[in-house]
Symmetry: C2
Subunit: 184 residues, 2 copies
């Protein structure tokens, strides 16, 4: 089976803290940590400036690490209704930045990510962080801890990949081509 | 009292239908309708492409009408939790586009808008539309009807303006200057 190497930017969306992690690998091959971090925007700044800062820092991550795919955690509304608005907006910015650069983007739910990385959709944060450390062959859990969710997301994307992702990417490219045609 | 003329782009955020309306005027002067419409994005398209389309059409509205201020309806989470995510993301795009171009942006709640235009925070859609028609001295209610909310938002912004808005604008400019400094 031929291996499809991917460089995935995982984005764990948030307005105050947005986790970002880049992992390279293919199904059945070792995974490599390329970069990890958290984008912080000041809670007391105007919302529009926080969104603008998030956009520009995501652009920088993309320019630096040139991901072939972006994986964004799917936001659910059952969480705290106050924070969900900011989380939805942060996720929206990540999707927008990906679409603008024609980078295929996919969303995965938190339980899909946990299941992919630990085998259980109900794993806790520590279990996820521990597995991320092992899977990336690291000496210790990456800091800050919230960034491990972004790495888990990237790993999930690589492993759920294969044929399905290839199809999804082809569809994404086609959709974007059609969108351009539709826009006259 | 010197009159401060404003050209306000009102944005009634939505993913499937995003109302946009541009009104020019000052407190105590007649209001002028500059443009009105609805940005539609296909519900069956990928979310990232819908956000990208919304961004580019908002950019076109701004390029065409050169608003001095953008007013966005403040999204509340007590609505349908499903649609609120898309609405929050659409509002986020409007805020982002404004911040990127350094155009002051403010949010008003639906009841502030209704109260400003009809005198009652609990006015219904028809009452708002009727008042928008009268205030802009139009022969009939602008179509499509959802676009009247965007016009009401723009009118609300002009009327709530004066000193407060001048201060808010000064603060916005200062914040944006500081944000640039903070970003090294």
């Amino acid at each position: 089976m031929s291996q499809i190497y991917k460089r995935v930017l995982g984005v764990d969306p948030g307005l105050t803290r947005c986790g970002v992690g880049v992992v390279e690998g293919a199904i059945g091959s070792p995974l490599t940590l390329i970069g990890v971090g958290v984008i912080l925007t000041p809670p007391d700044a105007a919302l529009e400036l926080r969104l603008l800062q998030l956009e520009s820092e995501l652009e920088e991550w993309i320019a630096l690490h040139k991901p072939t795919v972006i994986a964004v955690e799917r936001v659910f509304s059952q969480h705290n209704v106050r924070t969900v608005m900011g989380t939805a907006q942060a996720a929206g910015i990540a999707l927008l930045v990906a679409a603008r650069r024609n980078i295929p983007v996919m969303m995965h739910t938190p339980s899909e990510v946990k299941a992919a990385v630990t085998g259980s959709g109900r794993a806790n944060k520590v279990q996820v962080a521990e597995m991320v450390k092992r899977l990336l062959n690291l000496e210790s859990i990456p800091k800050p801890v919230d960034s491990t969710d972004a790495l888990a997301l990237a790993i999930c994307h690589i492993w759920r990949g294969g044929a399905n992702t290839k199809i999804a990417e082809a569809v994404a490219i086609e959709k974007s081509r059609l969108a351009k045609l539709v826009k006259k």
